[in-house]
Symmetry: C2
Subunit: 513 residues, 2 copies
């Protein structure tokens, strides 16, 4: 019996023990495999084919479903069923058995590839010599981890032999640690915060992920700073967000650009880092902070504030969180122990308005139930014992000296045309180089010379940043920082000279951001 459709020839053997739907599927599979049904061919409708074969329509439906699971055909609602071009080398036998299972066809179409800006930060295999100078990564220097103090805290909570330590925590987190965070934020200016609004999360990364899942459907707009934290872009892009950027300026995010964005779009929220922004290290001055809050109130803009490194201030006092002056309840606050203390414990916090507490609780439970109880309890003990304060006092001194060493080395060894931020805290600063320098190229050259930095493109979700670089000043000794900057300065200088001798005129000084 022959069916319509270019090249299709289906014979049904009613005497066979092979079910008819499998015979139909086998015939189509064979035709597709042999190229008689090229990729993109539209198959006849199930009604059409069942009529021409004289079989029940469900039999054809079943055959098409099997072929779809096999990845031989693909169907779209209302669009029909189409042959998928067979992958190059892959051979299928008539039953499909033994062929490699086609997982790719099961993956959701969007949100995969583009969502890995961190690939730009990875050197190629074998590229880096031993013991490179690490001016990359917004992470703490593990050599300063207060391991002994933490061991003490851990020993103490274990000694209490409370088996609850190893049992489930509630999704919102351990009560004692949440209470400590409320007190801590109280000291940062956040008055009257209710413990019920505080969630312990497995790092602020998870906090942002929960928010993305709470708010975003594909196509929703979110405003981010440019440059911004590449891990935030990964989360938001996985959720299908349309990323609207507002440029960072030497005084913090551009409010006029933000206002303009709000004229064109209805973003679900602004993701901002008002204190020691990653990657620039810039903090919003008090006036601009006030203006941002005023703009947000006037324009009814939700703010997600990531206060990830606000304790790492080296002059004056810590940056005041936006949450502290959130009169209308439109600020969500993220914090973490990862930057001021141990990233490997995966503990941070998320503070949401009352209205969102129950939805976030449900989302968190579905995502991974809760954070580990033991680490929450040990952290609470560590903080209560005063070990955190002691550690911060020490690390602020160390980091301040390293920042100073980097700024001095930059002034001495980077070309006149370069510009950089001068943070008063945090972990990183940002350099803008003349536009003849591509920092992605420079990255590989420097990696091969034993210096790692973070090329700028990783921090721009919409392109850009090719002439920028993020430098971390907190992972290496002052001497090694200086050595790294000298080496980078040499590489940059050589590139600039090469351009000049190739006939171009002297490069202009670049604007900072």
């Amino acid at each position: 019996m022959n069916a319509p459709g270019g090249g299709m020839e289906i014979r049904v053997d009613r005497a066979s023990t092979e079910p008819i739907y499998r015979q139909v599927a086998a015939a189509i599979r064979a035709d597709a495999g042999a190229g008689r049904l090229p990729g993109g061919t539209k198959l006849p409708s199930t009604r059409e084919l069942s009529r021409s074969l004289g079989v029940h329509r469900n039999t054809v439906v079943e055959a098409y479903h099997l072929l779809e699971r096999e990845g031989v055909v693909r169907s779209g609602v209302g669009a029909g069923t189409f042959v998928v071009a067979p992958p190059g080398a892959e051979e299928r036998d008539a039953t499909g058995r033994g062929a490699p299972f086609a997982w790719g066809r099961l993956m959701r179409p969007a949100g995969q590839g583009e969502a890995d800006p961190s690939r730009l930060l990875r050197p190629r295999a074998g590229e880096v010599p031993a013991d490179p100078i690490q001016l990359t990564g917004a992470i703490a220097d593990r050599r300063h981890f207060p391991l002994d103090d933490f061991a003490t805290a851990l020993r103490e909570v274990m000694a209490e032999a409370d088996t609850g330590l190893l049992d489930y925590s509630p999704p919102e987190g351990d009560r004692a640690l949440r209470a400590w965070i409320v007190e801590w934020l109280g000291a940062c200016g956040v008055a009257g915060l209710s413990e019920s609004r505080v969630f312990i999360v497995s790092g602020s990364q998870q906090g942002l992920d929960l928010l993305a899942r709470l708010f975003l459907v594909p196509g929703d707009a979110v405003v981010v700073e440019a440059p911004t934290y590449h891990g935030a872009c990964a989360v938001l892009q996985h959720a299908g967000a349309r990323m609207l950027t507002v440029p960072m300026e030497p005084e913090g995010l551009s409010l006029s650009a933000l206002a303009a964005r709000l004229r064109d779009a209805t973003p679900k929220f602004l993701y901002t880092m008002p204190g020691f922004q990653n990657p620039t290290g810039i903090s919003l001055p008090a006036e601009r902070r006030e203006l941002l809050l005023r703009l947000a109130r006037r324009e009814r803009l939700a703010i997600v504030e990531d206060h990830f490194d606000s304790e790492l201030y080296y002059e004056g006092t810590r940056p005041r969180p936006l949450l502290a002056d959130d009169t209308d309840g439109q600020v969500i606050h993220l914090g973490t122990f990862s930057k001021m203390l141990f990233p490997g414990l995966r503990l941070g916090w998320l503070i949401v308005p009352r209205e969102l507490v129950e939805p976030v609780r449900q989302l968190r439970w579905a995502a991974d139930l809760a954070s580990a109880t033991l680490t929450q309890r040990a952290m609470e003990r560590f903080c209560r014992a005063g070990y955190l304060e002691r550690h911060l006092r020490r690390i602020r001194r160390v980091n301040a000296r390293r920042l100073e060493a980097m700024l001095q080395a930059l002034a001495a060894h980077f070309p006149d045309e370069a510009r950089w931020t001068r943070p008063t805290g945090g972990l990183t600063l940002w350099v803008e180089l003349p536009e003849t320098i591509d920092t992605q190229e420079l990255f590989h050259e420097a990696a091969a010379r034993g210096v790692l930095f973070s090329p700028g493109a990783a921090f721009y979700p919409d392109g850009g940043g090719r002439h920028g670089m993020r430098l971390s000043f907190n992972r290496e000794s002052e001497a090694r920082i200086a050595r790294g900057i000298v080496r980078l300065g040499e590489l940059i200088g050589a590139r600039l000279r090469a351009r000049r001798t190739s006939g171009r005129r002297r490069t202009e000084a670049v604007p900072l951001l």
Copy 2:
């Protein structure tokens, strides 16, 4: 100047310092607030309104965007802009300032409310007397946690003073623990597993969540068992999955029902618990296990196997994972330390085909970067030291006695019409009661009498289960288990007698599942 549209009256004052878009927004806001523009009213198009007001079209666009952020109007692509009915008591002043920020409007529309089956498992506040008998929760008895052994493991890894303990783990997890899992699964029959396919996750819950995010777009079908683990339903429903169920039978999931499902649909995967299923405690016998794998191969069905409690076997040997006989690479495997050991550490594993390793790595990094390093290292030490095996030997003996106590009590105290499963391992069993008994009602009655169990409806994503109940036999002593069953038997008996005296005839024995 007046604009078209029922009840709209907009006056623009060009002399005012208030920007025109804000004047337009204020007028519409006032009209909506006063009921002159009722909820559902379609606003004029921006072109129309800008023309009639004699202002630039962008001004109207801006006004509409502001109103949308305020929650006053809502727009759909291509559909126009509509007034939102104002919430009951909420009063807005002309600037919107001071009004509570409307977070609800920012939440993604779907996937919230229905995704919390666990609400069915929660007693009402104040309902439960002190020290209730816990026949609820598929969780271990924390009184048997090997706290001392774990303290030893923890002390040992801390004593090595490796600061890496508190630094980031790679997204795929600590290498030593992954190697241990490969060996462990080797002992379970999984030969030749490559370490590169193993991810450490924060509990198998997170593993399933990552898979849901990797595969599912809203509307995608997934096959689950009925009854099934309610936490899996929560994850899948949050991802917008269409849940197709196949009934559990006394010998495991119904293969004929599964085959029928595959005739009607193209599910992304089957989520199955082949060993000591939650909630029924049923394990797939070897023949049916083989048939399931054969069906999956023939029908090209992806399987997600949750092997959460396979070490808790009390007769014979552990159930063999489907992964062990996965010739065509179509099984994804989830495992966890939460059931055999400590749930509060949040450690489990996810084993994916090679093709999915990189996408899962990216997703995991975006979700929360990695699991905690310290707990991974301590767990590896604990397992290598033989503490896990020792703990399992002890807990298997304890649980076996408790299971036996529960089965005896059920036989003695539950009505003749009831039926229940007889697991040979795991943590829970399943009871079917006569259909005159609603276990959700019984749940609250029993809670008030100091006995907690899990009512059946929580385990059926598509309705059903009203006459079923899950009983946990692993959290209480044998004496208290017996006491709990006696009390439940009394409550059930009383309900049955009340039905009979109210004129109905004797209830028939119910079929098990």
